[in-house]
């Protein structure tokens, strides 16, 4: 059984009532037994006094009888007769006093018969009275007989008296026993009641304290809720479903743009604030909620009295209180800012999408439309070269050569630009890749140049890394290609590739990174190098350190490298010493 405070009270009341009834029962029983024993005492006294009266009346009758025998004067017969009459009355009273079927009743019977006997002796002696002879022999005998009978009666009376005394003593003992126990029991019950009372008091006191604590908590909680509502731009409400009554928190009124408690809350009043276009939808939701007793998240607009439109969202939940009454409690939040932000993001997304589309259209233009006329120029020149080379003057042939190299350079530019614009980041392109394989593929691509320049490329074992593989391969091609291109005249290129793991806090350029571990890949050559002042510039698009005639190139290669490393959230650095060599250092995040 679940003991709620209510049930505790009921139990305590029941026990108290039971104890009081017990006390009443015991008290009644004890008073009854007391009155019984006092009745016994009273009857014993009555019997004893009747017995004493019987003896005295008998004596009165005997002395009357004796006087008459001596004097024959009938004046002595009066006490005799009155004694006899009173004796009869005494016996009659005893008859009622002595209960039936007891030892005392037997004694009474014997007493009666003995008294009967005594009276018959009295009567007989009256018959023997002779005026002349004072004491005849017969009379003497009768008198003796009378004395013996009298003794017998005395004995009977003593017997009865003894028995009464004994009965009274017994009843007294019994009474005393009961009387002894009574105070103890009353005292015990009293103590028990007191303990119960104290327990009940303690319990109630404790409950009251708890209630007070809970009340305090509730007050604090209410204040907190009010603050939270203000900060989060939300309001709370309760719908007492059975009474169809509402409670709105102060901030809910504020959300509606009115002063707290400025109207009696009701569903109709609330709907009045809802934007006309949203009323139907919200109405349907509320109907559904009444049916299913649950309000899913609903969004709707309200119009404040000053015309401001707010976007609200509400959520409700059905609960039952201690009296099993249904209450729908809910929260309404001002989602205007959220809605506006969402709209802004959506707008920007659309803008981005448009930009991306334009960019891919541009890509197509460069890949197709720009290449087409160039391709034709190149094809026509190749035809001219084959078919009419001999018909052209020397100057004409030089012109053809110039056109050829210019269009070749144009092609290179277009191809590089295209590659630069295609070097984008897509998460799905990342995969665990063996970097040694990528390096090997890059070397394969450059095999002609490597063999031509008799380059020596040495590399440490590289780890497996999470990268966009075709981009990293391009990175290797561009940097090694760079080293091959910018080699010193007559010095075979020597390219050394190293790898180590570093901690970002120990590297100047990575100090601000959130990622702790990095892969460091360095590619060092013995080429013409460059002034350290240009170390940053070489990664900028179209930036070249050398004239076009000295070294071919578009100034895009290293810009592509930078874009690739950026795509991998890494850092690329260059170090150069003129006529000694260049060193490219690439840091790529290592997510352990």
């Amino acid at each position: 059984m679940n003991l709620t405070p209510n049930n505790y009270l009921k139990a305590a009341f029941g026990i108290g009532l039971f104890i009081i009834l017990c006390i009443g029962g015991f008290t009644y029983k004890h008073i009854q037994s007391l009155s019984e024993s006092s009745k016994t005492v009273k009857s014993t006294y009555s019997v004893s006094s009747e017995l004493a009266k019987i003896l005295s009346n008998l004596k009165q009758a005997e002395s009357g009888h004796r006087g008459f025998l001596l004097t024959s004067d009938s004046i002595f017969l009066d006490p005799y007769f009155s004694g006899v009459t009173q004796l009869k009355e005494n016996l009659g009273r005893l008859d009622t006093l002595v209960p039936e079927n007891t030892d005392q009743r037997k004694n009474l019977k014997k007493l009666k018969s003995d008294i009967e006997k005594r009276f018959s002796i009295f009567k007989r002696s009256f018959g023997l009275v002779d005026d002349k002879l004072i004491l005849s022999e017969d009379l003497l005998y009768v008198l003796h007989e009378g004395k013996m009978s009298m003794d017998q009666i005395r004995k009977d009376l003593v017997n009865m008296q003894d028995l009464e005394s004994r009965l009274m003593a017994e009843s007294q003992v019994k009474n005393e026993k009961a009387m002894d126990l009574t105070p103890l029991m009353f005292f015990g019950i009293l103590i028990l009641t007191l303990i119960l009372l104290l327990l009940a008091y303690a319990k109630m006191n404790k409950d009251l304290m708890e209630l007070k604590d809970t009340n305090d908590d509730l007050v604090v909680f209410k204040k907190l809720t009010q603050q939270a509502e203000k900060i989060s731009h939300s309001g709370t409400w309760i719908w007492y479903v059975e009474e169809d009554e509402f409670y709105y928190s102060d901030n809910l009124f504020n959300l509606l743009g009115v002063e707290p408690n400025s109207f009696e809350p009701s569903l109709e009043k609330f709907i009045g604030f809802v934007h006309v276009d949203d009323r139907e939808g919200l109405g349907q939701q509320i109907n559904k909620m009444i049916k299913e007793e649950d309000l899913p998240l609903v969004t709707f607009r309200i119009v404040q009295p000053d015309g401001t439109i707010k976007h609200l969202k509400a959520f409700g939940k059905l609960i039952e209180n201690a009296f099993e009454e249904k209450q729908l409690i809910g929260v309404t939040v001002d989602a205007t800012e959220e809605y506006e932000n969402f709209k802004l993001i959506e707008q920007r997304n659309q803008e981005l999408e448009r930009n991306n589309k334009e960019l891919s259209a541009f890509n197509y233009v460069t890949s197709h439309d720009l290449q087409e006329p160039l391709r034709k120029i190149q094809t026509f020149i190749s035809r001219l070269e084959v078919k009419d080379k001999d018909n052209l003057s020397e100057a004409g042939n030089i012109c053809v050569e110039k056109i050829k190299s210019a269009s070749a350079r144009m092609r290179l530019l277009i191809d590089d630009l295209l590659q630069y614009s295609r070097t984008n980041k897509t998460e799905s392109d990342f995969s665990e890749t063996n970097m040694n394989m990528l390096l090997e593929s890059a070397k394969q691509e450059l095999i002609d140049s490597i063999e031509e320049k008799e380059a020596v490329i040495t590399s440490q074992n590289l780890p497996t890394m999470d990268v966009i593989s075709f981009q990293i391969q391009q990175l290797f091609i561009n940097i090694i290609g760079n080293s091959l291109k910018y080699s010193r005249e007559g010095v075979p290129p020597k390219i050394d590739i190293k790898h180590e793991e570093v901690i970002s806090s120990e590297v100047e350029e990575l100090k601000d990174s959130f990622i702790k571990h990095y892969h460091k890949i360095s590619i060092k050559d013995n080429g013409i190098g460059f002034e350290q002042t240009y170390a940053k510039k070489i990664f900028v698009l179209f930036n070249r350190l050398h004239g076009k005639t000295e070294y071919s190139g578009t100034g895009i290669g290293l810009a592509i490298c930078k874009k690739i490393v950026d795509n991998h959230n890494g850092v690329i650095l260059a170090e150069g010493i003129p006529n000694v060599g260049a060193k490219f250092i690439i840091y790529l995040p290592y997510l352990k």
Partner: protein, 148 residues
Amino acid sequence: MNSDYINIALADDDEDDRLFFTDAFEELKIKSKVSTFEDGIELMEFLENSNNTHPDLLFLDLNMPKKSGLECLVEIKTNDRFKNMVIAIYSTSSSEMDIENTFVQGANIYIKKPNNFETLKKVLSEVVTTNWQYHTNGLNKENFLLRL
């Protein structure tokens, strides 16, 4: 149909490219009949006329007015009459998307228009002499784009 000749068709809106194409075949001295079309509509009208001899080898430019090469490819591949026709895509573009789309639609090979006439001749002779039965069986995305 004369079996000594190979029937070749080209659909390309670019006059210069058509010229390069026919010149190349002339210089290659391959026994061939080359017919050219200026756009997709013209090509499809020719193909749908059952009186005309179907080409054995069709070169399709992708970027054409009225009807693009890709549209022609889809139409041809859904028609059972042309199921033995070898289709070579012949385009300036080498974008991944174009290569992917035409491969999926069932083209046999993808040729990026060369920058050099001599290269063009080499490419065309390679395509014409290829055993298409054999090539098509082993066709995959790697060898779909012709590399020389």
